[in-house]
Symmetry: C2
Subunit: 107 residues, 2 copies
């Protein structure tokens, strides 16, 4: 399993449209076979800062994600709204350990 | 729902014992009625950096967590192993939105 936290800092006045575009991308990503979670979070102390908590089954699933239309559309659309380049931090998960414990129940 | 990312930087040579103590705390926390997730992650680029992805149903559940024996024992045990004070970043979740989509299936 591959966990990545993607940190995004948007320009003032762009939070609403960034969130709308990112929720669209999150829902589509969750339907990819290799994606387990795609949580979209907004900082309570600084609402212009967002974090995506992305969990994929393996590195190949991350590569497949980058080739999807929804990801590429999101990336190009939000690019001019960012104050600084987005930053991804990669983590090894230690708990929980079963892939099914990382799944978002898709309703 | 309350999502907090807790960032921890441990002293060189203390990663193994920190992880052992933290996994014990994570398992116990998951059995609290107000806890939904308690993911334990280790940075791939810097293995002395850890992150806990903590999700509770509300602020009262966080307060109840701080009163548990397992939390207090963890806090006191790992305190001298940290290079810097731990830092918590609070987030508002935007996706997914149903509490059951945040639950770790407990096996």
């Amino acid at each position: 399993m591959q966990v990545t936290c993607v940190h995004i800092h948007v320009k003032p006045g762009f939070t609403e449209q960034f969130l709308e575009a990112s929720l669209r991308n999150a829902r589509a990503t969750l339907s990819e076979p290799g994606n387990l979670r795609f949580d979209v979070l907004q900082s309570r102390d600084d609402p212009e800062r967002f974090m995506f908590y992305e969990v994929f089954v393996d590195l190949e699933a991350i590569e497949a994600h980058k080739l999807t239309t929804h990801y590429q559309q999101w990336r190009d659309l939000v690019q001019p709204w960012m104050l600084t380049p987005r930053q991804g931090v990669k983590y090894e998960p230690h708990f929980p350990l079963e892939p099914e414990q990382w799944v978002t129940i898709d309703e």
